[in-house]
């Protein structure tokens, strides 16, 4: 009886850890994809339209119609705390023709769905004052003064409300380095 209990608990322990391992693999992939997508947009940014702790709107150079309107598109990142999803929307500069993509997506098929939630999300902005790097994280954010952007978020796979394999929770905190706005245009006075 004792041996069977030990065998069973070991089996459960291994099963849950294998599940967590697979979840972490998925979250690693999704987090890298989010960082890659944002980095490319930041590198091609012509100007910042608005910037908050959980949202960012950019005017982005784009030469590939598959990525959105050419030659310039509007890209909006918005974190939805009610659904725990990060949304990226591309459109024309006047907001027409929007295409929305969810950057952290659930995994599984029609039979088994494992939620991948973004528990929190923050943009971090850097400006310069007298040559010294300054973070504007906790003060008023002025888009025109932003020189670099960083992000942080936490992904979580699984759902405690679901019994079985999906009930195993695994969270994955992510933080980026500084992404410089390389393609900013000179001010035109407008």
């Amino acid at each position: 009886m004792v041996v069977m209990a030990a065998v069973f608990s070991t089996y459960l322990y291994l099963g849950r850890n294998l599940t967590r391992l697979s979840f972490r693999n998925v979250m690693e992939g999704q987090s890298r994809n989010i960082l890659r997508t944002l980095t490319i947009d930041i590198q091609n940014t012509k100007s910042l339209i608005s910037a908050t702790n959980t949202g960012l709107a950019l005017t982005v150079d784009n030469q590939n119609p598959l990525n959105g309107p050419v030659p310039t598109m509007k890209v909006v990142y918005a974190y939805d705390g009610s659904t725990n999803k990060l949304i990226r929307r591309t459109s024309q500069l006047d907001d027409s023709g929007p295409v929305t993509a969810t950057l952290n997506h659930d995994i599984g098929d029609n039979n088994v769905q494992v939620p991948v939630a973004m528990l929190n999300f923050n943009f971090l902005y850097y400006i310069t004052t007298g040559g010294s790097p300054v973070s504007q994280f906790n003060s008023t954010i002025v888009p025109i003064s932003i020189k670099q952007v960083a992000i942080s978020f936490t992904l979580q796979a699984g759902d405690p409300a679901i019994q079985g394999q999906q009930g195993t929770l695994s969270s994955y905190p992510v933080a980026s380095g500084r992404m410089p706005l390389l393609n900013r245009q000179f001010l035109d006075g407008s």
């Binding site: 041996v3 065998v7 070991t10 291994l14 850890n17 294998l18 391992l21 972490r24 693999n25 690693e28 890298r32 923050n122 971090l124 850097y126 310069t128 040559g131 010294s132 790097p133 300054v134 973070s135 020189k147 670099q148 960083a150 942080s152 905190p173 992510v174 933080a175 980026s176 380095g177 500084r178 992404m179 410089p180």
Partner: protein, 156 residues
């Protein structure tokens, strides 16, 4: 016999979990180390030329993130403290500015440049951290800076 089979199979599964966790841990911390290097280089690009030139004077600087990820030992020469979220991911990481070998000066131009006259230099960052299984990993990145280069445009 059955017990032996169970022990062997469970041991194999445990090894698979440990190895898999180590692989993911290594990939994740490699990414964090690279982001630290990029963050340090990015921080310098927002700084004054005199600050950059002083960092490349051949002195070895080192900073360690504490076990809680809340503080770093040197906030004068490293910018990681300005990105607290990244620092929390880097518990126990050591970030270093590595002085060059004597034959390869970090002041690259002009020849025999000093702190006041240098116009082009390199700075080498090395980040090291203990892996999941206790092994020490390192990642190195080299950044080049020109006196009237990219960093100046970011000071507007």
């Amino acid at each position: 016999m059955a017990a032996t089979v169970l022990v062997v199979s469970f041991t194999a599964v445990i090894q698979a979990v440990v190895m898999g966790a180590d692989m993911i841990d290594t990939a994740r911390k490699q990414q964090i180390a690279q982001q630290i290097i990029e963050a340090e280089i990015g921080g310098l690009r927002l700084g004054a030329w005199s600050t950059i030139a002083r960092l490349a004077d051949g002195t070895a600087y080192s900073a360690t993130v504490d076990a809680t990820g809340e503080s770093i030992t040197d906030t004068t020469h490293f910018n990681l403290g300005s990105n607290p979220d990244l620092m929390r991911q880097a518990k126990g990481f050591i970030c270093q500015i590595v002085p060059p070998a004597p034959a390869t000066p970090s002041y690259l131009r002009p020849a025999s440049a000093d702190f006041n006259t240098v116009t082009f230099l390199s700075i080498t960052y090395k980040v090291s951290w203990p892996g999941n299984l206790g092994r020490i990993h390192t990642r190195t990145g080299v950044a080049y800076f020109g006196q009237n280069g990219l960093h100046l445009s970011y000071q507007k």
